[in-house]
């Protein structure tokens, strides 16, 4: 059982000119959770689609529970469960009917399919709605039903593509509880998310993916350690002074840092010199007459990691950019960075 549940080697896929996956490698030990973290268009969904046999890779290979995703697709489908981005339930069927149908399609006998359906509804607190058509369900209920459908076949490996996107905070927390419980029971899980917080909460290991490549991999703590030490977080009182403030303090740390001109927030990784840099930063800003609304030294979050690795935040658009080669070309990279900044601005206004 020590064989990895998921092995991915050099997996690549392109759609016309767009390189969705540029050769990724992953390994997921059984009964662990890998969080695939990245912005829209990073290639997360493409990876899931290949691993669940919905899409053929152009290059590379992958196995799930020991089955090759291309040559043993048929066998593989018996041991996986998938819950995609949109809750894939039949609106005209009741909750129970949906689960029974999926059970029957896993070739579970009718009575057993019904029993499993009832069990899952109970577990996801949908028993009261069991005999109502899914049309009448709220977004959170549909997601839970959809997750239930992915579990009817008792999968060894479960794939969840952005399981909480579009859910309200309460439903999201409920979803997290459910997922944590599943993993406790020994299911291997590959989860994609745009939310750093989500990966942090749920995943044993995180693979950060951007423009079709895995740009970092490790536990949440390992990734945070890559940022090194602490982060100085500032927020200027007047947003229009944010660029000036950034100019004054960004060079203080050992490298990196970012500014969000919309919120006036500035983050600077400061290594182990936190206190000294904090003092210097406050002195410089004071000298420029920039008032601060907030200042703190904090442990790095995955947001800092993502910014450090990719030069842009994890949220916000990356769509359409997936075709760009993620080369080390500085000029190009900064161009991309600028483009992303613009996109973020557009999104917020």
């Amino acid at each position: 059982m020590s064989d990895p549940a998921i092995v991915v080697e050099g997996l690549a896929k392109r759609y016309g000119k767009v390189e969705a996956l540029a050769g990724i490698d992953l390994g997921v030990p059984p009964a662990t959770v890998l969080g695939l973290l990245g912005p829209n268009g990073a290639g997360k969904t493409t990876a899931i689609r290949i691993l669940t046999t919905l899409l053929h890779p152009d290059a590379g290979r992958a196995t799930v529970a020991g089955f090759d995703v291309v040559s043993q697709a048929e066998e593989l489908r018996h041991v996986i469960g998938l819950a995609g981005q949109n809750a894939a339930v039949d609106e005209n069927l009741t909750g129970l009917e949906n689960l029974e149908m999926v059970g029957r399609l896993y070739h579970v006998p009718a009575a057993e399919a019904r029993r499993r359906g009832e069990e899952l509804l109970e577990r996801f607190e949908l028993t009261d709605a069991a005999h109502r058509t899914a049309k009448t369900y709220s977004g959170g209920m549909r997601r839970r039903l959809d997750l239930g459908a992915s579990l009817v076949g008792r999968p060894q490996v479960l794939f969840l593509d952005e399981p909480t996107t579009g859910l309200d905070p309460r439903s999201r927390l409920e979803m997290w509880d459910i997922i944590r419980e599943l993993v406790k029971e020994g299911t291997t899980l590959l989860l994609t998310t745009q939310y750093l917080e989500e990966a942090d909460h749920l995943a044993d290991k995180i693979a950060v993916i951007d423009l079709g490549r895995v740009i970092a991999e490790g536990t949440s703590d390992q990734l945070k350690a890559r940022v090194g030490g602490e982060v100085l977080a500032l927020r200027v009182a007047e947003r229009d002074r944010a660029p000036d403030a950034a100019g004054a303090v960004l060079g203080l740390g050992p490298g990196g840092g970012n500014v969000d001109n919309n919120t006036g927030e500035i983050n600077v990784p400061v290594g182990t010199d936190g206190t000294a840099i904090l003092t210097e930063a406050v002195r410089r800003l004071d000298a420029e007459g920039i008032k601060l609304a907030d200042v703190s030294l904090r442990r790095p979050t995955l947001d800092d990691v993502f910014l450090g690795l990719t030069g842009h935040a994890a949220e916000g658009g990356g769509d359409g950019d997936a075709g760009d080669e993620a080369s080390g070309d500085g000029d190009r990279k900064s161009k991309r960075k600028r483009k992303r900044e613009q996109e973020r601005v557009r999104e917020r206004t």
Binding site: L54, H78, A87, N92, E97, V102, R104, L105, A149, G153
Partner: protein, 281 residues
């Protein structure tokens, strides 16, 4: 390891496939039961066609048809076939909807027969064609439609109409999978089906077409099917002997043969394309 036992426990492959087909057919039939308005509204349009042709154009048509052939008896076989073909549009619309909702992705990730989603959908929609044809028969009777041949011929004609509907559910299925949105499916199917239905003998005799259109109209599958149903229900009244307008009407034997050929051709071609498209990853 449980994967292997799971595979062993699985019933025979054929039994499993049949079971998948049934599960999906049932799913789609339940949808019809929960949305009866769908069936009602899809029947209203052909009923309006009947009323339009019988009461608006009918008088004019009576003038050219031989007096022994009431226009309504000439018309209805065309309407039956047209209704079956248009009803099949539902298949593509339903599949496009499933595709947009992500249901097709779920089905494709399940260890089920690759043909089941399409087979189940087309089967359920053929049940709907069956019901609509019966409703149309009732409407036809009310506006004066009468059979001129025996019950066996009528049954055969009924089967042909439903079979045409079935063949077109596969055309529609392919359109649904390849075009992916409900609007595109509706627009495309209407555009493609329209000339076949109207440049056929569904509403007028072949001899009334301009000569350059006649070759197309004559071998158009819709003409073949409509004429087969017509000969089965009108008998000798719809033959070259009755009127020069019917000079090109083929014998029942030829029509049955061509009908079957077109039906089998449509079914084979589009079910092959459809399943292939479904598998395509």
């Amino acid at each position: 390891m449980s994967a292997i036992t799971e595979t062993l426990r699985e019933p025979g492959r054929l039994a499993a496939t049949v079971s998948d087909w049934w599960v999906l057919t049932k799913r789609n039939l339940v949808t019809y039961l929960r949305k009866p308005d769908l069936l009602v509204f899809s029947t209203i349009q052909p009923v309006m066609f009947v009323l339009l042709f019988v009461y608006v154009f009918g008088g004019a048509f009576e003038l050219i048809l031989p007096p022994s052939v009431p226009y309504v008896d000439f018309l209805m076989p065309g309407i039956f076939v047209q209704t079956a073909i248009f009803a099949a549009t539902q298949t593509g619309v339903g599949l496009a909807d499933d595709l947009q909702k992500g249901l097709i992705d779920r089905f494709r990730s399940l260890p089920m027969a690759r043909s089941a989603v399409l087979a189940g959908r087309t089967a359920a929609d053929t049940v709907s064609v069956f019901i609509q044809t019966i409703l149309m028969l009732i409407v036809a009777y009310l506006v004066g439609y009468r059979l001129h041949e025996g019950g066996f011929e009528a049954l055969l004609a009924f089967i042909i109409v439903v079979a045409v509907g079935y063949a077109f559910t596969w055309v529609s299925a392919f359109a649904g999978l390849s075009l992916k949105t409900i609007e595109a499916v509706q627009a495309a199917l209407f555009t493609i089906v329209f000339p076949f239905v109207f440049v056929s003998t569904a509403f007028v005799p072949l001899a009334t077409f301009p000569s350059w259109l006649q070759p197309f109209a004559e071998y158009n599958p819709v003409t073949i099917w409509v004429d087969t149903v017509r000969v089965l229900t009108l008998g000798d009244l719809y033959s070259p002997a009755t009127s020069p307008l019917f000079a090109d009407v083929k014998s029942l034997g030829t029509l049955m043969w061509l009908s079957t050929l077109w039906f089998a051709g449509f079914l084979a071609f589009f079910s092959f394309l459809g399943v292939r498209w479904y598998r395509r990853t």
